[in-house]
Assembly symmetry: C2
Homo-oligomer: 329 residues x 2
């Protein structure tokens, strides 16, 4: 097999130079770079790991099933997974389920057909029963499971935290946005908030919604201020819904956080740039992805799992859509 040394020799440069060209690091003269590239092509050189597995018949593919990559929470998960599996020489087949059974079944078939060595699913798993028949390990991500290794954030605790923080900061007429019934983590955080609100002396209003998507969020936002105009605190089902709420609040010239506090959920990268910057409950998305990939790697390598369920902590990120505790504590 062609090695990096063969390339260096043929191109008349050092191994370090070939490495610099491959990694786009350090300075390499343009004509040297072109010569190295041409040599790589001529010798059909492919770097390390992957080249080796060309000679084995082992697949290095891992299936990843997400609800919808256009929700900004999921690219973070996906990057955490990819960075981890990439370092072990594995690659991802990506599928979006849109929480539909047929798409989920189709991807299960695709993964099987392509001999994936394992799978990570962050979807609602309407076909959970079908997973029993799979011949490769499965890790659940952003979903808890008694049966399968799983990595998830403590949604119930996150929901509690959101309600506690908004009450502590003086909201008395709180709106709790209930996410879609079929999205389990959204329901867990809803239940967490509900448990705190129902034991508090705050009035509260629950708004039913059936989506966490951009295009619907503006509709919910308008609905809240029509149905409960005197609300002074809103716990949103995720940061996207919170962003839409903030936007509508400004349109109505409400003063945030003085007259209205807003708390999101997820801490997607955009939230720190909203104005005011969004206070939210942070799920460590990238870390969750990484941990799920670590669990799956262990399953694939048949190493013992010390911990089958990994629950990561959530944290309250205090920014400017909530008041300071001193003012109201």
């Amino acid at each position: 097999m062609v090695t990096i040394r063969d390339v260096a020799k043929e191109a008349g440069v050092s191994v370090a130079t070939v490495s610099r060209v491959l990694n786009s690091t350090g300075y390499v003269k343009e004509d040297t770079r072109v010569r190295v590239m041409n040599t790589i092509q001529k010798l059909n050189y492919s770097p390390n790991e992957v080249a080796r597995s060309l000679y084995t018949r082992e697949s290095r593919l891992i299936g990843l099933l997400l609800p919808d990559i256009t929700n900004p929470f999921f690219p973070q998960l996906a990057r955490g997974i990819e960075d981890e599996v990439h370092s072990h020489g594995f690659r991802l087949i990506l599928g979006n389920s849109d929480e539909q059974l047929e798409k989920e079944l189709t991807y299960l078939q695709t993964f099987t057909q392509n001999h994936v060595v394992g799978m990570i699913t962050a979807t609602t798993s309407l076909a959970q029963k079908l997973y029993e028949g799979l011949t490769f390990p499965v890790v659940f991500l952003d979903r808890s499971s008694d049966q399968y290794p799983s990595v998830y954030a403590d949604g119930f605790e996150g929901g509690k935290l959101a309600a506690e923080e908004i009450i502590k900061r003086g909201s008395k007429r709180i709106t709790l946005i209930k996410g879609p019934v079929n999205v389990k983590p959204a329901q867990e955080r809803f239940q967490g908030s509900l448990s705190v609100l129902s034991q508090s002396d705050a009035d509260f209003y629950v708004l039913n919604t059936n989506s966490l998507a951009f295009d619907d969020a503006q509709k919910w936002a308008k609905e809240i201020f029509q149905k409960y105009p005197e609300t002074d605190g809103i716990i949103a089902s995720n940061d996207i819904v919170a962003a839409a709420v903030l936007h509508e609040a400004f349109r109505l010239e409400k003063s945030v956080p003085d007259d209205l506090q807003v708390i999101g959920f997820d801490d997607i990268p955009q939230s720190r740039f909203s104005f005011p910057a969004l206070s939210t409950i942070r799920q460590p998305a990238y870390e969750m992805g990484k941990q799920a990939a670590c669990l799956l790697m262990k399953c694939i390598k048949k190493e013992p799992l010390i911990q089958k369920q990994v629950q990561l902590p959530v944290t309250f990120i205090e920014r400017n859509t909530t008041r300071k505790v001193e003012e109201h504590g």
Copy 2:
């Protein structure tokens, strides 16, 4: 092979009911749903297309190489691609290159090794020469190419449009943020803006940057107001950078759009929720993804390409970070 009719017969329900269960559409009684699901599992039924290709040896995989899925522009592209290829029974292997040659080479090998039937690349293609040796068709996305079929937005025109609109609305001391030198579409839009600014009577300042990522954007934003405090109009290299600029402008208590106008590029879904809502140059990301997938499907099916280069138009989306033309026109 097991068909949907076999499932219906075995479960004692109509084909329409099985279909409703599969598609999660319409009402199905819970015990019926469970019975259908159990039957699907028992008979090991898999819907249509994919099941058939289990019996052929043809791969139904398409490689997709992106710079970084956590930049919110790319999930839109990816969804456009996936929705199109999914409807033809194809699936995606996803790779992020981080614009690094080694990662790009690794994914080219992965795609080859997994017998993909085609590939879409939205990365800078540092290994463009190596693409010549591939045995499957390649479509370039968000990058123009003389050699390969490609789909891209008119970046030069977009850059011109941004400069024209900000000048038309009264900015006189304009900051132009120059995106990374190695990202071709960023350079095209930079050149477009530059061509208009250099022929205008506005003063302008060019800020060099080497990234389009979240974590760097706040740094550029601070830098602008330190280096050119009197600037009254900023053309950002993308919406993420624009969001960071807006955030910093508010921190400095600048009035947008009265004292400072800001124009982004991309129109990512979050931009309409910023406050003020971001005026920007829209690239039709989802549509670009779909069109690239359509081109690739034609290549795979060996149909003639009527048009090898598809350039999609960009549009100015007027929101609230720019002034109205009447006020200054």
